[in-house]
Structures are given as structure tokens and as C-alpha cells.
């Protein structure tokens, strides 16, 4: 009740702005939506400001800011995040290849223009509108609104840069091996699929530029690592990912500060997949062995 009481003046301000002060009441549903918008915006501000102890745009230390001040600063933060998303999206669609994968194309090329047209950063900032059918390798879906979208676009941007190390036909060929009708039916992440074969190439000491594993390669991997424990495979994957993110210099440039950390998040997934493929001697199928 106290929180609601303290949010009321901000709700009133929002209503007055939207209705030009011509309506003095709103439905419960609308009030709840506005309350959610205010709390989300304040939370965005608090998260951004928590990395610094004081807010540089205000004369007061952050814990002395009123709810209204936090909200107003939060609105600026939300609008800034939206601008960041527009910049990231511009980088993604520049020289974009969809690898003929429908879900990838529809999410990024068809879906995101609608987001930028319809997203309401003031009255409904929590609703990011899109279902995000194509998922990056990792996404914290507990986040909402423009915060989630910024994460999504950042990860997709990193993945796009990683995938650009190979030609379109190479990646499309790999996907075709996963699933002949991949263009319409493949629903998983492209980058992770490439990452699996990249790790396998490194495990046999060959350049991942070809992406493909021969039967001899698969036998060598089975023979070298088939008796490894899961923790040993985990350590190996960590090493390979570290090699991958540093060796190519791809993520050493500005704008990719979090890329290495992002790819390292796949260490556990890769461990599980490789460990069980080795245990069940199913590497040929797992690595789409090329005869």
C-alpha cells in the first residue's frame, strides 16, 4: 500500500501527460500497467546506477533520490537503451546473411522493425512485443522490455561476427547436414552448431576453417578423449573456447568487450554434448561426419 501510495503521483503525471489532463480516473488494468511501467523504469535506473555509487547527473547520492527522480532518470536510461538497440540492429542488418533459415530471417528482418515501430518506452516499457522465436546461444529470459532486447541484439551481433569467419555456403552446407529441410524446419541456434564443429576441429589440431570432420578425425577424437571424465572434458572445452575467442582476434576490438564471456557460457553445454557423444560412441552423428 505504501509503495502504491508513493507511486500515485507518478501515475497521475503519466495519466495527465497522456490525456492532456482531461481524464481524472483510469481503469484498474491501466493503473496496474502504469505501475508496472514505473517500477520497471526505476529498476532499469537502479541497475544502471548500481555500478557507480552516485548518480553523475544528479547532485544527490543515488540513495537520496526520490522515487520520482529515480523514475525520471530511469526514463532517460530506457530511452538510451532503445537508442543502443537501434545502433546494434543497424550493425546486424548491415551485410546480413540469413543462411536461408526462415526463423532467423523472420525474427530479425521482419520482427524487429515492428518492435522499433510499436515499442512504448514510457507507458509499457516491460512489453518487448516480440516472441524472439530465433534464440541466441544464451539469453536471460527473466529480463523484460528493452533490457532483454538489448541483450538479445548484443548476443546476435557477436554470433553474426563469429559466423562471418565462414562463407555462407559453408554454414548452409553444415545446416543441410543437420537437417535436409533446415530452411523451414531448423529451430535451433546456428552459432552453437558451428561452435560444436569448430571445437571438434581444434580437438584434432586442425584449422576450423573447413568446419567439417572426417571419419578419421572422429576416430582420433574418440581415441584421445573417449576415456576422459566429464570434468576433464569441461576443462578441455574451457581451454578450446579460450583459444577460440583469443586466437582469431575477433573479439579484441571495441564493441566486443563481453563477447569472450558470452562464448565461455557455452562451456557447460559443450561439455555435456561432447561427453555423452564420446560415452555413447556417437561422434559421427554428433559431428555430422563428412565421408
Amino acid at each position: 500500500m505504501d509503495t502504491l501510495q508513493s507511486l500515485l503521483p507518478i501515475i497521475e503525471m503519466m495519466v495527465n501527460k497522456q490525456s492532456s489532463m482531461e481524464s481524472t480516473s483510469i481503469t484498474f488494468e491501466k493503473a496496474e500497467q502504469y505501475m508496472g511501467a514505473i517500477l520497471y523504469t526505476i529498476e532499469v535506473y537502479n541497475q544502471a546506477a548500481s555500478s557507480t555509487k552516485t548518480d553523475t547527473t544528479s547532485l544527490l547520492p543515488i540513495d537520496e533520490l526520490s522515487l520520482r527522480q529515480q523514475y525520471e532518470l530511469g526514463v532517460n536510461q530506457v530511452l538510451q537503451l532503445l537508442k543502443d538497440c537501434q545502433i546494434l540492429y543497424g550493425l546486424i542488418v548491415d551485410d546480413f546473411s540469413d543462411y536461408r533459415l526462415r526463423i532467423y530471417r523472420e525474427t530479425l528482418i521482419k520482427g524487429f522493425p515492428e518492435f522499433f515501430k510499436r515499442y512504448d518506452p514510457i507507458y509499457n516499457p516491460k512489453d518487448h512485443l516480440l516472441t524472439l522465436d530465433y534464440m541466441p546461444m544464451h539469453l536471460d529470459t527473466s529480463k523484460q522490455g528493452v533490457v532483454l532486447i538489448k541483450d538479445y541484439l548484443t548476443w546476435i551481433h557477436y554470433e553474426k561476427s563469429f559466423l562471418s569467419l565462414w562463407s555462407d555456403p559453408q554454414i548452409m552446407d553444415l545446416l543441410e547436414r543437420v537437417m535436409p529441410h533446415y530452411k523451414t524446419d531448423y529451430m535451433d541456434n546456428i552459432c552453437y552448431r558451428v561452435l560444436i564443429n569448430t571445437a571438434a576441429c581444434l580437438m584434432v589440431g586442425k584449422s576450423p576453417s573447413s568446419l567439417f570432420i572426417t571419419p578419421e578425425d572422429a576416430q582420433k577424437i574418440q581415441s584421445d578423449y573417449g576415456n576422459h571424465s566429464e570434468s576433464q572434458i569441461h576443462e578441455l572445452m574451457g581451454y578450446l573456447l579460450d583459444q577460440l575467442t583469443t586466437a582469431y582476434g575477433l573479439f579484441a576490438t571495441k564493441g566486443y568487450e563481453k563477447a569472450a564471456t558470452y562464448f565461455m557460457k557455452q562451456q557447460t553445454n559443450l561439455t555435456t554434448h561432447f561427453y555423452y557423444a564420446l560415452k555413447h560412441k556417437s561422434l559421427s552423428r554428433f559431428l555430422l561426419v563428412q565421408l
Partner: protein
Amino acid sequence: MDQFLPLIQQSTSYSLQEITQALEGAQQFNLSLTAQEKEALILSRNNSLTTHRRLELSDIILPTIIQRFSSSQYINNDNYLDHLMRLTDMFYHFKNATMDHVTDIELINFMEEQFNNVCYGDLDYLESTCLERFAKAVRSGKDNYQSTEGRNLYEDLSEEKRWDADLYQDVLKELFW
């Protein structure tokens, strides 16, 4: 959403002050409410807000309704409280029914004009006919009420056959000339 209910209930003391002030203007029409009636009016307003699931951000509607309707020839001290309660309830109901497209003043203007000039004080007719037609027109996208602030809409909304003056003259001529 029931989190808003305590907020509705707690506005009582502030509302009492507002309506007491508004009622001072009603005295010139020999209209008044006792202290108990004022409390009953506020309680009725709160119940209307709860029923129609609306949160009021300022205590202005009830005083406005008092000020606008107290001068009506169809309101007297016997029906004063009941009319104020019903008009207030209608207001919130039709704010929902018009999906908040209509401003407060447009709706009150419409209600006042229709109540006095079309319904001749009949609240049932105001609610079930005039306001229903208005809400239906607003929902279907008609927005001429905006340019008139809710006034002079009777002809646009009327569905009853009325006298056609030209036809009447023609028939008269035929019969008597």
C-alpha cells in the same frame, strides 16, 4: 488488482471537504444534503469506482456533477441524493463503455444536455438509451463529439422517427388547399 481498493476507500475525508464546498452553490436552488447523506454519497461513489474498477486520481468528478446538475429543473430535494448517486455511477460506467476515448468534460456535458433537453429528467432513459447510443457511436469510431465537447449530439444519435417539417407542409397543402 484489488491492491487499489484501499486507495479508493481512503479518499473519504478529502472528498467530504470537496463536496461540502460544491454543495454551497446548490443552496441557491434549495438543495442540500445532511451530513449522513454526504457520507452516503461518498460511499456510493467509492462503491461505483470499485464496481467499475476505476482508480480516481483527483476528487473532482463528484463536485463537478453536483455543480452541473444542481441547477436542473428536474432535480429537487426529494430526489437529490439518489440522482447524484446514479449520475456518478453512470459517469464511471460510461467512461469504461467509451473505452476512455471521451474526456471527463465531454461526458459530463453530454449527460447534462441529454438529461435536461432529451430525457426530461428520466435517468433510466439517459442511461439505457442516450448514453448507450453515445457509447456505441464512440466505440464504432465516431468522434464528432470532440469538436462539440459532447454537446449538440442528439440529432446524430437519434434513432426515432420524428416529424419531417417539409413532408408535413406538403401533406397539409394537399389536404387543405
